[in-house]
Symmetry: C2
Subunit: 389 residues, 2 copies
C-alpha cells in the first residue's frame, strides 16, 4: 500500500536494496520542493557515495493550489528513463530500482551538476548542452519511431506510455488556457491590454488549434514531454535529462520546441548583447539533431526510408512543429499558470518589457512557423523587440 | 480454452444464451468462406427468427497461403460494434453476446440484406447507401475524436483499440507492398510495364510515404479500418456496416477513402455511361459527412471548437486524407494481394483496360490530393481514362 516515505524509511529501503556497503554511514535529507514529489538524498558519509530516492505524492501543489495527481506518473518516469537509457545512457540518470505501489524511483544522484535553467540565469554557457540535447532528442525520437523500431512493438510501447492525466496538464496549461480568458492564467496587471489583444487574435488561435491537435493526435515518437531547462542537469562536460513523468507518444517536434522556447526565454531575460550563446545553442541543437537523425536513418528497415525526400519531409515537418510548439511554450510561460524564473526574477520594468517581447515573439513563431529556417529565429527575436518593427 | 465450434456446439451455445424461445426448432449452417472466420447461421424453423455466431480462426488464408492471425481481433470487432452502436445503432448489427476466449461474437442476422459490392456489381444502386455511410462515418468519427469525447477518456479508448497485428496487414498490403516489387503483389503479366513504371515513380512514392506515416501515427478517431463495399450490407432502405476487426485509432479520412476507392473501382468496371450513380454516391457521402460532422461540432466542449476556421481546417484535412487514401486503395486492389471482384470478374481485355485506368487514377488521387474538391474526382476519372489525357 502507498504511504509517503520518511527519511528513516528511505534509508531502510536503501539498505534493503543493498545499494551501499555494509559498513556505510548513511545520512538522509529530503531535498524536494514539496510540490509534486518527495526527493530523498542518501549519502554514505564514509565514501561520499550517494543515491536519490524520488517518490511521487498523490497531489500537485502549484501556486498554492492543490489537486490530486495520479501516482502512475512514477511508473511512467522510471519506464521512460529506462527506455531512454537503452538508446542514450549517457544523458539520463541510472535507475537502480522502482516500485509501482510506492511510486518510487531509486536513481543516480546528480547533485554535482546544476539545473540548466539556474546556470543559464547565472550567465553560465554549458558549452556541450546543445550537442547533448540534439543527440538525446534525435536518438530517442528515431529509435522509438516507426522508422527505428518494429512498428508493431512501437504500438505496444505507445499503449504502455498512455498518459492521460499528465497530458491533460499540457493540453490545458500550454495549449489552451493562455489563449483564452481562463482563471489559471497569471500575469502582471500592466500586461492586460497585451494579453487581451492575444485572446482576440483569431489568426493566432486558429494556428494554436492546429498545434494542440497535433499534440492530441500525433503518436509519432516517445517524448520526454516536459523538456524545459529545469528538467536538465548540466555542467561544462555533462548533460542529464531528468523528470520524464510527462512521457507519452507525441509529435517529434514537441521536445525540441519546449527546449528552444526555454532558451529563448532566457535570451529575452538578458541584455541584447548577451543573447548570442542562446541562439548558438538553438541552432546547434537543431544541426546535431538533423545530423544524428540522418545517421540513424540509414539503419531503418522501413522500405520508404530509401525513397527520395522522405527523410527531408520528416525533418522539415519536425522543424515546423518545433517552432510552433516553441511559440506556445513562450506564451504560456509568460502569461499562463507556470512561469519561468528567467523572467520572473527580473525587476518590474525590465520584466514587463521582456514579457511583451515574449508575447510578440511567441505569436510570430506560431504564425510564421512554416516559413522559418532555424537561423531565422534569431532575426525574429530582433524583429519582435519592438511593436510594429 | 479456445476451440473451433461445430454446428452442434453453436446451437448449444445459442440455447444456453436463451436467444430463442424454448419450443424453437433450430437449424444451423456454417456459411463463412473459411478464410478467416467461422460463421454459423442459426434459424428457428418455426418462426424464421435467426442469429449469427461468428468465430475467429487462429489463422488467415489468402490466395492459398495461410498465416497465424491473432484471435484478439474478435474482441476488437465486438467492442467496435458496441462502440459504434452507442452513436449509430441503426447502421451496425446488434451484438447479443461475445466471448473473448472463444473469440466469438453472437449478433443479429442480416441475411435479408445483400453485400453492397455484390449488389453494385449486379448494377443495383442502393439509393440510401451514401447518406447512411456519410452519417455513420461522421458520427463515429466525431464522437470518438478529441472534439466529441472527453480527451482523457479518448486516450483510454485508443489504448483499448491498439491493434498491431491487423494494422500490420494494412501497412503492408495497402501502403507498402504495391509500391515496391514485393512477392505479395499479384497482377496480370500484361500489366508488368505499367506496374514497373509505378515502382519507379519517386514522386508518387514520396506521397505514399506521407500517407503511410499518417496511418502509422495519427490517432485521431476510432476507425472501422476496412470500410470497403464488402464490409457493408445494404438494401434499398437499409445499410449495415459489419466486420470492424481492423478497428483502431487512425486518421479521420481513412474510412472515407476506402469507401470512395471501392465505389471508384466499381465505376471503372462499368461502361462510362453507367458510372454516374457511383460519382453521385461519392459526392453525397462527402456532403452528408460534412453536414453531419458540422452539426455534431456544435456539441463540442473543446474551447477551440468556437474559433473561426478550426472546423474548416479539420474538414478540408479530412478530404485531402480521404482522397490520398482512396488512391492507395485503388492501386492495391489492382496489383496488390487482395483484389476486388468488380475488376477481377471482367473479361481479360476489359479488365486490363480498367486496371490500367485504375493505376493512373490511383496515382493522380495521391499526387493531386491537396488540390481536388470532391466534384473533381469525377473529372479525374475521365481525365485518366487514357494515357497522357
Amino acid at each position: 500500500m502507498y504511504e509517503p516515505l520518511t527519511e528513516q524509511k528511505a534509508v531502510a529501503l536503501a539498505i534493503r536494496l543493498g545499494l551501499f556497503q555494509e559498513d556505510a554511514l548513511l545520512s538522509c535529507q529530503e531535498i524536494g520542493d514539496g510540490n509534486l514529489n518527495l526527493v530523498f538524498r542518501i549519502v554514505n558519509e564514509r565514501t561520499n557515495d550517494s543515491i536519490i530516492i524520488k517518490q511521487a505524492l498523490p497531489y500537485a501543489k502549484v501556486v498554492g493550489e492543490s489537486w490530486p495527481l495520479t501516482l502512475k506518473r512514477a511508473t511512467i518516469e522510471s519506464q521512460a528513463l529506462r527506455t531512454f537509457a537503452s538508446y542514450v545512457p549517457q544523458y539520463v540518470p541510472k535507475v537502480y530500482y522502482s516500485d509501482e505501489t510506492l511510486a518510487i524511483t531509486v536513481m543516480e544522484d546528480l547533485s554535482h551538476l546544476q539545473i540548466a535553467r539556474r546556470g543559464l540565469i547565472e550567465g553560465k554557457t554549458f558549452p556541450k548542452l546543445s550537442e547533448h540535447i540534439g543527440e538525446f532528442v534525435a536518438k530517442t525520437a528515431f529509435y522509438t519511431s516507426d522508422f527505428g523500431m518494429n512498428q508493431q512493438q512501437k504500438k505496444k510501447l505507445a499503449q504502455q506510455f498512455t498518459n492521460p492525466e499528465l497530458c491533460k496538464i499540457t493540453e490545458d496549461l500550454v495549449f489552451t488556457d493562455p489563449f483564452f480568458d481562463h482563471d489559471t492564467n497569471s500575469f502582471e496587471t500592466e500586461l492586460r491590454a497585451d494579453v487581451e489583444q492575444l485572446w482576440q487574435d483569431d489568426e493566432l488561435k486558429r494556428e494554436a488549434a492546429k498545434l494542440k491537435r497535433l499534440f492530441l493526435t500525433k503518436a509519432d515518437v516517445l517524448l520526454h514531454g516536459d523538456l524545459h531547462t529545469g528538467s536538465i542537469f548540466a555542467s561544462d562536460d555533462d548533460t542529464k535529462v531528468i523528470d520524464p513523468e510527462f512521457a507519452f507518444y507525441g509529435p517529434i517536434g514537441f521536445d525540441l520546441g519546449q527546449f528552444f522556447a526555454n532558451l529563448l526565454l532566457n535570451a529575452l531575460s538578458r541584455h541584447e548583447s548577451e543573447r548570442e550563446p542562446l541562439f548558438t545553442h538553438i541552432e546547434k541543437t537543431w544541426d546535431v539533431f538533423v545530423r544524428t537523425f540522418t545517421t540513424c536513418w540509414q539503419e531503418s528497415n522501413e522500405p520508404y526510408a530509401r525513397v527520395s525526400f522522405v527523410l527531408d519531409d520528416i525533418v522539415s515537418d519536425a522543424l515546423v512543429e518545433a517552432i510552433g510548439f516553441a511559440g506556445c511554450e513562450v506564451i504560456r510561460r509568460t502569461i499562463g499558470l507556470a512561469h519561468v524564473a528567467d523572467l520572473d526574477e527580473l525587476p518590474l520594468e525590465r520584466r514587463l518589457e521582456a514579457k511583451r517581447h515574449a508575447l510578440r515573439l511567441g505569436r510570430e513563431l506560431i504564425v510564421q512557423r512554416e516559413h522559418l529556417p532555424i537561423h531565422a529565429i534569431k532575426r525574429l527575436v530582433q524583429q519582435t523587440a519592438h511593436v510594429n518593427s
